[in-house]
């Protein structure tokens, strides 16, 4: 019996199946695309992306998204942005290559920083996604900045317990004492090896024989001359030896001086243990505004690194996380090719932005975004964003075309309501009211240059009634509440691995001056106390060593002088006795 290869009667059911598939696609394509867009967006942003409706019109190549909400990955109850409507003019053919090319996008009703009712951040393993990893890296980076705390809650200065093991002068004294002992032994041994005693004894014996010798006793004369020569050599040895001893003594004296330096370091260390309020104006600026400034820089860095992760330079194959599914996700590898289309490209987007949407009459501005792509090397031009209006200037450039990525973003917004600042360690809040804020951020490769500034002339202050109250805080409140201008400038320079943060504000000097007046005497007294404590612990260790080195110097100097005198006397006696001959 022959078996046929094809089962022709199954063609009918298969066609029915295909038709059902087509109908399902027609019915659910919008929903599937909406869910996919939400999933991809959430994965990229690192926070929930929600879309009210999405409609695909493949025949005309249009995609319309309504009610887009992108939650903030940094704040629980805030949105990054909302948009009323996005209309995209899509290239249909690249879809067959699984590439999304949008020729033109119109985004209307964009609003930033709106409130939301639920936490939009994505829970779960932060290392499971690119955005999670980038978020962790940005957070770690932000924690590199050691922001000093402003200590003025009670106005009291604590002297912490001083552990003698943490003082450097004590072990240095012990080490120097050991060195002095070993030097003493070494020098003693060295003197013995010079064999000065036998030389002097031999010269003395020769002298005795010379006293009884006749003028013709040539052997005695020769012995005497040899003895004089030996004495001269012995004196030379003593001189050379004295040079060594002098060098050793100088090292010991330097060690003694080093003990004084170590003691000074111990003073500084002990002073560092004092819980002193910051009296330097720059330190106060850091304490007050660094957390806010660093949070802004951290966000800028997060978005830059997210952009770098999804828009990498170069044309080499690269793997991204695969799609989430019941099976293992694996990695999805992209193989960009020169002169081919990028995986994603948004050629041109016109953005209609609403600023201060809660205001009675929110202002609308226009912006433009061009060249947003997943393969910048293929597109060949940087991604550009620009928005300009009377009170706002914003721009960004993501240049990932070349091997070293260059990202720049900057914005100046005037006349908007600035967020209230809670000043760390101070029981008061600062409401800048309407003012100007600036943010500039440049990341070239690994080199960062960032600046954040706020200016306001209508500052109001609110005292936190639940906060601690003291004479210092009362005085600071009286000082600060009279200030109506605010100028804060924060900057970061350096590399991502070693960034330097500087923060200055016009409040720094006012606070520093007031603190100096209030705390100066107490700080001086506390410093005296810690110096006394260091002296009490260190001096018993240092004093004996200093005395031992002094005694050793006296002893070795005397011993050398004595030996040299013996040699000189023996030589003079011999020479005097030889003179008649």
């Amino acid at each position: 019996m022959s078996v046929r290869i094809f089962r022709w009667r199954a063609i009918g059911p298969l066609l029915v199946f295909l038709v059902i598939g087509g109908v399902v696609w027609w019915l659910f394509a919008d929903r599937i695309a909406r869910r996919s867009a939400e999933k991809i967006g959430t994965s990229i942003v690192g926070a929930k992306v929600e879309i009210q409706s999405l409609h695909i019109d493949l025949a005309n190549g249009d995609v319309t998204i309504r009610g887009l909400t992108v939650a903030s990955p940094h704040e629980a109850l805030k949105n990054l942005l909302q948009a009323d409507e996005l209309v995209a003019d899509l290239d249909v053919l690249p879809l067959l290559e699984k590439k999304v090319v949008i020729d033109r996008l119109a985004a209307n009703g964009l609003r930033f920083g709106t409130a939301r009712e639920t936490d939009g951040r994505v829970p779960g393993d932060p290392n499971a996604s690119v955005s999670g990893r980038v978020m962790n890296e940005a957070r770690d980076w932000a924690q590199r900045f050691q922001v000093p705390a402003l200590q003025l809650a009670t106005g009291k200065i604590d002297v912490a317990t001083l552990d003698p093991r943490q003082l450097s002068a004590i072990p240095a004294a012990h080490a120097l004492s050991a060195r002095a002992d070993s030097s003493r032994k070494a020098w003693q041994t060295g003197l013995d090896t010079l064999r000065l005693g036998p030389t002097v004894d031999s010269a003395t014996a020769t002298l005795a024989r010379l006293k009884t010798a006749r003028v013709t006793d040539l052997a005695a004369l020769a012995d005497a001359r040899r003895a004089i020569e030996q004495l001269k050599q012995a004196r030379n040895r003593v001189t050379a030896y004295e040079r060594d001893v002098t060098g050793g003594m100088a090292a010991l004296k330097a060690g003694v001086a080093g003990l004084d330096s170590a003691k000074q370091r111990d003073y500084a260390f002990a002073r560092g243990l004092l819980k002193l309020p910051s009296l330097d104006a720059p330190a106060i600026g850091l304490a007050l505004f660094a957390p806010t400034a660093v949070a802004n820089f951290e966000r800028a860095l997060y978005w830059t690194q997210v952009a770098r992760a999804h828009m990498p330079p170069g044309l080499l194959p690269r793997g991204d996380d695969g799609p989430q599914r019941a099976r293992r996700s694996g990695s999805t590898v992209r193989f960009p090719r020169e002169r081919a289309l990028p995986g994603f490209l948004l050629r041109d987007a016109e953005l209609s932005v609403q600023l201060d949407p809660t205001a009675p009459q929110p202002k609308s501005y226009a912006g433009r975004l061009t060249g947003l792509t997943s393969d910048p090397a293929l597109y060949g031009r940087p991604t550009l964003f620009a928005a300009s209006a009377p009170a706002i200037v914003a721009g960004a450039m993501l240049d990932h075309v070349h091997a070293t990525a260059r990202d720049t973003a900057g914005a100046t917004v005037q006349g908007v309501r600035l967020p209230v600042l809670q000043l760390p360690s101070l029981p008061m809040r600062l409401d800048p009211g309407q003012g100007t804020t600036q943010l500039g951020f440049t990341l070239k490769g690994d080199t960062i240059h960032a600046r954040w500034a706020i200016r306001s002339t209508h500052v109001t202050w609110a005292r936190d009634s639940a906060g601690p109250s003291s004479t210092v805080t009362d005085l600071l409140w009286r000082t600060l509440s009279g200030i109506s201008d605010l100028q804060v400038d924060a900057g970061i320079t350096g590399t991502l691995r070693a960034p330097r943060l500087v923060v200055r504000s016009n409040l720094d000097e006012a606070i520093a001056g007031r603190l100096r007046t209030m705390m100066g005497e107490e700080v001086a007294a506390a410093e005296r106390r810690v110096r006394a404590e260091v002296d009490r612990q260190v001096d018993p260790a240092i004093a004996p060593v200093r005395a031992r080195v002094t005694a050793l110097q006296t002893e070795i100097t005397a011993r050398l002088a004595q030996e040299r005198a013996r040699l000189e006397k023996a030589q003079k006696d011999l020479e005097a006795r030889l003179r008649p001959f």
């Binding site: 290869i5 089962r7 059911p13 590439k99 695969g322 960009p336």
Partner: protein
């Protein structure tokens, strides 16, 4: 439990279907591709169409799918590794992948996913050995205990069910 019963049902139906051992084995081998690779992929639509149109055992394909789904899950780390090696660590293949990636339709198969490619390559390599092993196994089964099972009460109950009627639509000719 229900899955286990269905698997058993599928196994029994397949083994006693009218198809030849070769048809049954081909069904199992094609079904194994559905089970070993991630289901929602374009290549699986082609495999499904092949199972429907080619004169192979449909229950055999269902059996192969059901049997190899858990195997696929278990071997995912291996597939991922194989896919990584092929896609990223075999420079000789990079021009091929680049060409395929920039070709219409092909990227829709997700071939550039490490698990998809690794599992597809594995199932392709595994296809012929499985085909021959399954044919030998079915032949041996039918020659030994097949008839006794066919005469049992529970087998008759199974074949009398409505599901069986649906199956008959796709039974091998």
């Amino acid at each position: 439990m229900l899955t286990l019963v269905k698997l058993l049902q599928s196994l029994v139906k397949a083994l006693h279907s009218e198809g030849t051992p070769g048809q049954l084995a081909a069904g199992i081998a094609l079904g194994s591709i559905l089970g070993l690779t991630p289901l929602v992929s374009l290549h699986n639509a082609v495999i499904f169409a092949a199972i429907v149109i080619l004169n192979v055992s449909f229950p055999g394909a269902l059996l192969g799918w059901a049997l190899f789904v858990p195997v696929g899950f278990l071997l995912d780390p291996l597939f991922d590794h194989v896919g990584h090696v092929l896609l990223l660590h075999t420079p000789a293949l990079t021009p091929l992948w680049t060409a395929l990636y920039n070709m219409p339709v092909v990227p829709l198969t997700n071939f550039n996913n490490t698990v998809t490619l690794g599992s597809l390559v594995f199932s392709a390599v595994f296809f012929l050995p499985l085909l021959f092993a399954a044919r030998w196994g079915v032949t041996r089964y039918r020659a030994t205990i097949g008839e006794r099972v066919r005469q049992s009460k529970w087998y008759r109950a199974l074949t009398a069910s409505r599901v069986y009627n649906v199956y008959r639509l796709f039974k091998p000719e």
